[in-house]
């Protein structure tokens, strides 16, 4: 070969001769190699299956439970094996995964990746800061504001001048109505960059939200106070008149009047519990007028205690009762009674009397939060049956 190399001028023929010689040498070499069948390739009939499993050609990621191609396993090991990677590298690998998921809006997967990165126990504060910051962003987009805030704050712990994390913390605080924290974060941002436009806007928005929330709380407190004082005045008015209630336990004078006691149990009267009128002087009652003859009742939702029974009858019979075939139910042709359930008897009402006078009668008890009256035609069989009906006095335990 040396003589060949020494030769400086080659003719074309000599070159062709050399090429042919080298070709022949190569053929001889190949022929000399062991002959074996190629068995490592994919079986011809299942080549598509095999291709789907190959990490370079697979169309979808392996799901849990699938068999993994050894090459895939190998790649996984390379990327995730703690022995193959330093902690920092591992953490950064997970970070890249997480960022990839973020780009594709797979926020929950991103959270997982960043979490794995954090678990890698890297000690590098910059890496940790980024992992927490990014996980905070992932949480933010799925509206886990508490987790997002906590992560943003951890990021700031590792890197106190991390503006992105601070801004994220400010936004989270705003969503969580943590007004003071939000304004603190915004102020800190503005200290570093006094023209941070978003921080200025958020600072203002946060302040407005805080003021509104506080105002609403004050308004609610004022209204609660008003309701309570209205209730106290009502209660005082009732106690003053020494009104008796059916459902009241035998505590006598010291039994307190509760809102429950005053709640009308009759459905049509439900929304009209007894109350004081605007002047605060006259009680307004819900009342039920029962017709034993027809077994149904009329309801009057708001009767002032100064109205007489006659007034009530006039209203009740302003239009004749549909079931009243004999036109017996007219003012002047009916008697009105109330039941004394304690004793088990009925009392006839003097219709010229005002409601408050009737309510003050010894045997009158408010029943089911309302005034209950019975209306029967004067001197009729219905009346007689009604009066003599068997009644048992209420027993107290």
């Amino acid at each position: 070969m040396d003589e060949l190399a020494a030769q400086r001028n080659w003719t074309d023929e000599e070159r062709l001769e050399l090429a042919a010689k080298l070709d022949a040498e190569l053929d001889a070499f190949i022929d000399g190699l062991e002959k074996k069948r190629y068995e490592e390739g994919w079986p011809e009939d299942r080549w598509q299956e095999e291709m789907d499993k190959h990490p370079f050609f697979m169309k979808r990621a392996p799901q849990p439970g699938d068999d993994v191609h050894p090459m895939f396993e190998g790649l996984q090991k390379l990327k995730y094996d703690p022995e193959e990677n330093t902690r920092d590298e591992l953490a950064l690998n997970y970070k890249e995964d997480g960022n990839f998921y973020m780009k594709h809006k797979k926020f929950r997967m991103a959270v997982c990746s960043f979490t794995e990165g954090i678990k890698s126990k890297t000690e590098n504060p910059d890496v940790l800061a980024v992992l927490y910051n990014n996980r905070s962003a992932a949480h933010y987009f799925i509206k886990n504001y508490r987790s997002a805030l906590s992560d943003a704050q951890r990021a700031l712990f590792f890197k106190p001048d991390y503006t992105k994390a601070r801004w994220r913390a400010a936004q989270c605080a705003h969503e969580l109505d943590k007004f003071d924290l939000c304004s603190q974060m915004c102020e800190e941002l503005l200290e570093v960059d006094v023209d941070h436009k978003e921080a200025k806007t958020l600072l203002h928005k946060n302040k407005m939200k805080k003021l509104e929330t506080e105002r609403n709380q004050r308004k609610e407190a004022a209204e609660a106070k008003r309701r309570l004082s209205r209730y106290h005045r009502l209660r005082d008015a009732i106690e003053q008149r020494e009104i008796k209630f059916d459902d009241q336990k035998a505590g006598g004078k010291n039994a307190t009047i509760s809102e429950e006691l005053l709640r009308p149990k009759f459905l049509p009267l439900e929304d009209h519990p007894v109350h004081l009128d605007e002047d605060g002087t006259t009680l307004v009652w819900p009342a039920a007028f029962s017709y034993p003859e027809f077994l149904f009742s009329d309801f009057q939702q708001q009767l002032p205690e100064t109205a007489t029974m006659q007034d009530c009858l006039a209203t009740l019979f302003a239009e004749p009762l549909p079931c009243d075939k004999t036109n017996s139910y007219r003012p002047g042709n009916v008697h009105v009674y109330y039941e004394n359930r304690k004793v088990g008897c009925v009392h006839k009402i003097v219709v010229e009397k005002q409601l408050n006078e009737i309510v003050a009668e010894k045997g009158f008890f408010v029943s089911g939060g309302a005034l209950l009256f019975y209306v029967v035609p004067k001197d009729s069989r219905v009346e007689q049956e009604f009066i003599h009906q068997q009644r048992r006095p209420m027993v107290y335990s």
Partner: protein, 368 residues
């Protein structure tokens, strides 16, 4: 005079600690009296020695030095002299910078004393421009002072920094000071305003109300005051509001911070401060536009309740008069007033005297 001169040698930085301390204690005692003060102020070397000792490592010595400066600057003459000398000496004693630095330092135990010195110095109108120059040199200085003032737990060595309120108030005596503090970029004013109702310190509260007064007396700022933000108006009205209930419609007129105030709300207890607030409102009544805004924001309703309270509880006749002055303008219709700007009216001198006399007579009749 001679004693004072003798003390100077013991007040040099390299002296023994006990000598320094005793000499300084003596000097501090001297600053408590008028003769002592003038003796010290007449001796430049003594002042220089005091400047030097404010840097001393020993905290008691340093503090006593600053306390001496407080007393020496308490009056205008002393303040001017101290300021000028600090500039003249070689090397210069940058008194304002030192003060600002101590105040901005979270760990400084001298922050409060230095703030009092600064408060004394800024009170002198002739010095304010130069002091503003110095403070403006570092563009974070004023914002940092505002932050130290607004954040109640700023100083970790128990300094309260209440005296920053009069400092800012004094700086705003001049237009340039007002401009700096009202400048939109830093929002300094917004940080200072909430303290007009600060119950914990009359110095802080009074200083902030002084700030309000300085701003209101400059018509240029009336628009700033009465823009949608309301923060300045709220700062003025809040101390005048009480626990009385307003109807829902009246409440809706008021700025949001003043709506539905609870039973526990109390009014400003110092009558001088109440009067200052009412004077602010009076200033704001000078232009038509401002009057209309004040009416729209429920100022009359607030003053109506205030007047009842002042007559029964507050019982200060100057405040009652000041209140009535504002109410008189607010209840008039604009056609009756017919003027766009009250300040452009010229009042002849003899008439003016007569009005003042009438007011004084009237004031006497206000309280029974």
């Amino acid at each position: 005079m001679d004693t004072v001169k003798e003390l100077v040698q013991f007040m040099q930085p390299n002296q023994r600690l006990d000598l320094k301390a005793v000499a300084l204690t003596h000097v501090l005692g001297l600053t408590g009296s008028a003769e002592g003060k003038s003796a010290i102020l007449s001796l430049d070397e003594m002042l220089m020695a005091i400047f030097g000792l404010t840097y001393d490592e020993n905290p008691t010595v340093a503090k006593d030095a600053v306390l001496s400066l407080i007393n020496l600057t308490a009056e205008e003459e002393g303040a001017v002299q101290v300021f000028r000398l600090a500039k003249q000496v070689q090397p210069t004693f940058p008194i304002v910078d030192v003060a600002a630095k101590a105040i901005a330092d979270e760990q400084s135990v001298l922050a409060d004393p230095w703030s009092m010195v600064l408060s004394n110095l800024t009170r002198v109108e002739s010095l304010v421009h130069e002091i503003l120059d110095i403070l403006e040199r570092g563009d974070q200085t004023l914002p940092r002072l505002a932050k130290a003032f607004a954040q109640l737990d700023y100083n970790k060595k128990k300094c309260k920094l209440h005296y920053l309120a009069p400092v800012f108030c004094n700086l705003m005596q001049v237009p340039r000071g007002r401009e700096l503090c009202c400048h939109n970029r830093y929002k300094l004013l917004e940080k200072l305003l909430p303290f007009a109702s600060f119950e914990g310190s009359v110095v802080r509260r009074g200083g902030t109300i002084g700030i309000l007064k300085n701003v209101c007396f400059d018509a240029v700022y009336h628009d700033v005051i009465l823009n949608e933000q309301d923060s300045i108006l709220v700062a003025i009205l809040q101390p005048l509001c009480g626990p009385e209930e307003f109807s829902d419609e009246d409440n809706d007129k008021l700025p949001i911070e003043l709506q539905y105030l609870p039973e526990s709300k109390t009014r400003e207890e110092d009558p001088d401060l109440r009067k200052m607030l009412l004077e602010c409102l009076l200033q704001l009544c000078s232009t038509r536009r401002s009057r209309e805004i004040l009416r729209a924001k429920g100022t009359y309703e607030i003053l109506r309740e205030f007047h009842k309270w002042e007559a029964k509880v507050g019982r200060d006749s100057d405040c009652l008069l000041a209140c009535e002055n504002v109410v008189d303008i607010l209840i008039k219709k604009e056609e009756e007033i017919g003027l766009d700007n009250y300040k452009t009216v010229e009042v002849p001198a003899d008439q003016a005297e007569k009005f003042v006399q009438e007011d004084a007579e009237y004031v006497k009749t206000l309280l029974d």
